[in-house]
Structures are given as structure tokens and as C-alpha cells.
């Protein structure tokens, strides 16, 4: 690591700590801790959503996947973006109108029972944990490469930073870290894309023609099928991507940081523009890396392709650009894990402790202490898991998190808002079937089983798809429907209230 590189890192760490310091003075209540007091504006929250969403998996993972597999890598970009329509059309406004801090708040607005809250909190924690391990393992590997430090030091570094942001600055600090990161990420991505285009003489048609002969895949590089050859598996993965976003706890939580549904709506619009532009640019990152770094060099640095973007930066702009992009990648990871800690802590401290254990009667001070304690707990636990999970495939963990979100959270969200006859039993069975079908199907999938011993277990996988969303999402919906048939009749007065609140935001 050179002096310039170190300067970028120190600048980012310094800036984010400064923001945390300012935010800490304004974080004195549970509402400020979890939702920044609901005081963010549409554009602030929109950029923060983008900052929360564009994880290292997006920036480093997709750039690498497009560099190595051409169009097949671009599938992720498409899925991650179209997902925002599901968020905007179906989830964002009712969620803002019904919820307070967490997903469980929204569901218990209709079914006020401890077991429902507990189930929703557990599904939230499961998703957060998988997503967090994925981010931390990826972060560790990346920073290890970028800074030349040991894996465990890297994980610890990221872990300590995220804990500091959340512990002292709560949602306000986390949001601003996400905003700073999103801005830096966009600057870096646009800069690299322009440089790539420049190298191709700003001729996009010409770029495609050249790409035909640059990689070992020849013309196939520009067509789907280089990586994904199993049709059902591809479709299943795409279902998880498009439906999962609307069930991701750290994204859902962002909608409580604005004052009303109208602002929630405008923040999705800002986020969609930023995220969309970013994903279009992943084409240039990927093509550029394939053309100017070459797949051999990319794979040599990291077999999954995660180093494609930093290596491309080095090829185009030397050490300075490489250092900048590495620092941006570091900020990217920090912002995402901070958001995850916060949503995990809210499920623990607000749902399990505050609402279930303390029956909603905890004092403001108790709530704050619980929130801070839970943040430390969630951080420490995920750091420990990440230290032991170094060899896990990051992409698999992320897609699993999306799959659980789509299977366990989305059905219950949709039923709660839109289905008049949905009842308590149905809510419980929807979450449980979705959660367990996703977990069990993954446990018997080729992600963990291989006949040749290349995976964790040796043997034939009982379930053929690597991503089970194609089966587990319908099972989540089916579970909720069957549970509803067997449960007691829905409370129609309560539904009238939820219906009115969800639709027009009357409190």
C-alpha cells in the first residue's frame, strides 16, 4: 500500500467518524437511534438506500462476473434493478404507513401477537446474519488483498468500524455513511466507465465488436449461457433477486427514516435512478476489465473475479485510481454492514426485548441501552462467524439471503396488506414455511453437496437447484394460504383499520 492509498483510507475513515461524532449528539432516543427520528428527506433517503443496496457484491462481484462471463454476469444487474419496482409498487408506502422501526411492527399492526413478532424477528435475524457473513467474508478477503494485511485483521477492522458507527451514531450516522459511500461509488464508477469508453473511442458498437475477439469465450461472451446453463436454476435465481429486495430487512428499515409515505415514494425514485445508472455502468466495468486486465490476471488475483474493478482502475489510472477505487470499495462495505447491524439490532432490542420481553413498557433509557447492547452483540457474533467462514462462497450467501427474504418476508407482507381474510395462523405459517423451506432446500442443494467431494458434503444433492426461490417462494405463499384456511376467522375491524392506514396513511 502506497502513501496515496493510505491517505484515501484515512480520509474515508476520518470523514465517516466525523459524521458519526456529529450524529451522536443527536442520537438520544430509540426513535433517533433506529430511524434518525424519521427526519430524512426524500433525496437523502434515496441516496442512502442506494448506498445500502450497492454492496461489495454489486460493485466488485458484478464487475467481476461480467468480466469473466459476459452477459451472464449482467443478469444480476437486471434483477437487482427491476426489484425496485416491486418495492415501489407493492411494499414501500403501506410499509411506511403501518410500521415504526421494524418489519415485525408492520405485521403486528394487524396481528398483535407475540408469536408473530417473534417469528418476524427471527426471520429478520436469519437474513441479516447470512447477508452480514457474506459482506464480512468478502470484505476480509478484499481488504486482505488491497492492504496486504491478514484476513482476521481485515474482518476485525471492518467489524470495529461498523460497530462504532452504529453504537454512537445510530441511524443518522449510518445513513450519512451510506450517502457518502454512494456518492464516492458513483464518482468512481462514472470515472472508470468514461475512461473505458475513451479507450474504445466512445464507440459502443465498436466496443461490442472488439469484445467478440478479446476473451477466450469468443462471440459466446456476448450471449447468455457462458455461466448459467441450467434454465430452471437461472429462472429461480432471477426470482430470488427480483422478489428478495422487497423483503430485505436493512432496505425495509430505510423506509422508516422518512416522515411519510410520500417521502418514502420519492426516496425509491431517487434510489432507482442512482442504482439503475450504476448497473448500466457495470457493463463498462466488466467489459473494461476483460479487455484491459484480461481474465487470466483477474482470476489469478481472485478466482471469483472480485478484484476485476480495482485491477481495471490500476490498468486505466495507475496507483492513484486503484487506491481511490479500493478506498471506495472499503467505504462500500462499511456502509452496508453498518445498515445490517442496525436492522439486526432492531429485531433483537426492539422486537424481542422491548416488545416481547418488556411488553412494550421499556423506558426510553432501557430501550437505548438495549439497542446499543444488541448492536454490539450482533456485531461481535457476526465477526466471530465471519472469522470461521473464510472459505464460504460469498455469492452463494448473498443469494441465499435474497431467497429467504423473498420466501419468508414477502408473502406475509403482501398478505398482510392486501388480503382481507388473512389471519394470525396464516401469518405465522407464511413466515415459518418460507423460512424453513428456503433453509432446508439450500441444505440439500448442490451448494453443499457434490458427488466428487468438492463441496462441504460428499454425495448426490437431493434438490437440484442452487437457488431454491422457484420452489420456496410459492411454498411461502402456499403456507400462508393453508394456515389461513385452518386459522380462526380474520378480525374484519382490524383489517379495516390496516386497510385505511396502509392506503391513505391516516393515523
Amino acid at each position: 500500500m502506497n502513501v496515496i492509498g493510505l491517505a484515501f483510507f484515512v480520509a474515508i475513515v476520518g470523514l465517516t467518524l466525523f459524521v458519526t461524532y456529529i450524529a451522536s449528539k443527536r442520537t438520544n432516543s430509540a426513535s433517533e437511534f433506529y430511524t434518525a427520528g424519521g427526519g430524512l428527506t426524500g433525496w437523502q433517503n434515496g441516496i442512502a438506500i442506494a448506498g445500502d443496496y450497492l454492496s461489495a457484491a454489486s460493485f466488485l462481484g458484478i464487475a467481476g462476473a461480467i468480466a469473466l462471463f459476459g452477459f451472464d454476469g449482467f443478469f444480476y444487474s437486471i434483477g437487482y434493478l427491476v426489484a425496485y419496482l416491486v418495492v415501489l409498487y407493492i411494499v414501500a408506502e403501506p410499509l411506511r404507513n403501518l410500521g415504526k422501526y421494524t418489519l415485525a411492527d408492520m405485521i403486528t399492526a394487524r396481528f398483535d401477537q407475540k408469536k408473530i413478532r417473534a417469528a418476524a424477528a427471527i426471520s429478520t435475524l436469519t437474513i441479516v446474519l447470512f447477508y452480514m457473513i457474506a459482506q464480512l467474508v468478502g470484505a476480509g478477503a478484499l481488504i486482505q488483498l488491497l492492504l496486504g494485511i491478514d484476513y482476521w485483521v481485515a474482518v476485525l477492522l471492518v467489524g470495529v468500524m461498523m460497530t462504532i458507527y452504529v453504537l454512537w451514531g445510530g441511524m443518522a450516522a449510518t445513513s450519512w455513511v451510506q450517502i457518502i459511500k454512494a456518492a464516492l461509488l458513483m464518482v468512481g464508477t462514472v470515472l472508470i466507465s468514461v475512461l473505458v469508453l475513451w479507450k474504445f473511442n466512445f464507440n459502443i458498437l465498436g466496443m461490442f465488436t472488439e469484445m467478440k475477439s478479446i476473451t477466450a469465450n469468443g462471440e459466446a461472451y456476448l450471449h447468455p449461457g457462458v455461466k448459467y446453463t441450467n434454465g430452471l436454476d437461472t429462472i429461480s435465481m432471477m426470482i430470488a433477486l427480483v422478489l428478495g429486495t422487497a423483503g430485505l430487512p436493512h432496505i425495509l428499515m430505510r423506509f422508516f427514516t422518512v416522515k411519510d409515505a410520500k417521502t418514502a415514494r420519492s426516496s425509491v425514485v431517487y434510489a432507482t435512478w442512482i442504482v439503475g445508472i450504476f448497473y448500466v455502468l457495470t457493463i463498462f466495468l466488466g467489459f473494461g476489465a476483460a479487455a484491459f486486465v484480461g481474465s487470466d490476471a483477474i482470476i489469478a488475483a481472485n478466482p471469483a473475479g472480485n478484484m476485476a474493478a480495482p485491477l481495471l482502475a490500476q490498468a486505466l489510472g495507475g496507483d492513484i485510481l486503484m487506491s481511490f477505487v479500493s478506498a471506495v470499495a472499503f467505504a462500500t462495505i462499511l456502509a452496508v454492514v453498518a445498515g445490517l447491524v442496525l436492522s439486526g439490532a432492531s429485531a433483537f432490542a426492539h422486537d424481542l426485548y422491548g416488545q416481547i420481553f418488556k411488553k412494550g413498557k421499556a423506558t426510553e433509557k432501557q430501550q437505548m441501552n438495549a439497542a446499543r447492547l444488541a448492536s454490539v452483540g450482533v456485531s461481535a457474533f457476526s465477526i466471530l462467524l465471519a472469522l470461521g467462514a473464510q472459505s464460504m462462497n460469498v455469492a452463494f450467501l448473498v443469494s441465499l439471503a435474497f431467497c429467504i427474504a423473498a420466501s419468508a418476508n414477502l408473502p406475509v407482507i403482501i398478505y398482510t396488506i392486501y388480503w382481507k381474510n388473512f389471519n394470525t395462523t396464516g401469518a405465522l405459517t407464511a413466515i415459518i414455511t418460507g423460512l424453513f423451506s428456503a433453509l432446508i432446500l439450500v441444505a440439500i442443494s448442490p451448494n453443499l453437496w457434490a458427488a466428487d467431494g468438492s463441496m462441504a458434503f460428499t454425495g448426490e444433492a437431493l434438490f437440484p437447484l442452487t437457488n431454491p426461490a422457484l420452489v420456496s417462494v410459492p411454498l411461502g405463499f402456499l403456507g400462508g394460504w393453508i394456515g389461513t384456511l385452518f386459522g380462526a376467522r380474520a378480525d374484519q375491524r382490524k383489517y379495516a383499520e390496516v386497510d385505511v392506514k396502509a392506503n391513505i396513511g391516516l393515523k
Partner: protein, 127 residues
């Protein structure tokens, strides 16, 4: 985008922060509102808008992996060496942005209808 008008609106409307219940005592009568013709008509309009568009974008989205997995028609070139699959994928991007703006426009109309219900509720029409 519609941010300017938004802040202007919110100044006249005390929002959130625990209670915005009407002064005339008690929480709103949600059942009466849910049964009212104006709420029902608003909900019908909303559903008629959201449902078909949601089905449309989910189908056009999932059609892409179906086509690429089971046919090769999108591998034909559209412009130069740019195959149709790229055009399809980018049109999904355009679709997302367009539908985003369409939603905001329609939602602003719905807000106006909701405002009428707010006013009526405040006046005690649903007691």
C-alpha cells in the same frame, strides 16, 4: 421531481409524531372509512392501476431468462454486434425508470383523493 410541492404540502399538514387524531375526540372510525364510497373507489382505482402493471413488469422480467434458457432467438444481432439480449435487458432498465415515473404521477392523484377523505374525517363525517 415532485419534492418542492411535497414540502409545501407538509407544512400545512402536521404529520406523524405519534398522534394526528382529530380534535373531535377518539381515534378515527376506520370501519366507517373503509365502507365509505370514496375510500372504496380510491382503493379500486389503486388496485386497477397497481395489479396489471405489476403483472406486466414481472412477466416481462421473467421472460428474459426463460427466453435465454430455452431459445437462442435473442442471440441474433440487433445493431452491429449488439445482440437482442442486450436490447431486451436495457429495455427492462428503461421500463423500470418509466414505470417509476408513472407510479409517482398516479400516486400524486391518489394523494389528492386521500386528502378529501382526511378532510371529511376531520369534519367528523365518519362518526
Amino acid at each position: 421531481m415532485a419534492i418542492k410541492t411535497e414540502t409545501a404540502l407538509n407544512k400545512t399538514k402536521p404529520l406523524d409524531k405519534k398522534k394526528t387524531t382529530p380534535q373531535k375526540g377518539g381515534p378515527p372510525n376506520y370501519s366507517a372509512i373503509a365502507e365509505s364510497t370514496e375510500f372504496k373507489s380510491l382503493k379500486r382505482k389503486k388496485n386497477k392501476f397497481i395489479l396489471p402493471i405489476t403483472i406486466f413488469f414481472l412477466l416481462s422480467y421473467i421472460l428474459l431468462p426463460i427466453l435465454t434458457s430455452y431459445t437462442t432467438i435473442l442471440n441474433n444481432n440487433a445493431f452491429g454486434d449488439i445482440a437482442w439480449v442486450w436490447i431486451y435487458a436495457l429495455s427492462l432498465f428503461v421500463m423500470t425508470w418509466v414505470l417509476c415515473m408513472v407510479y409517482v404521477r398516479r400516486a400524486n392523484d391518489f394523494d389528492k383523493e386521500a386528502e378529501i377523505i382526511f378532510e371529511k374525517e376531520k369534519a367528523g363525517d365518519y362518526k
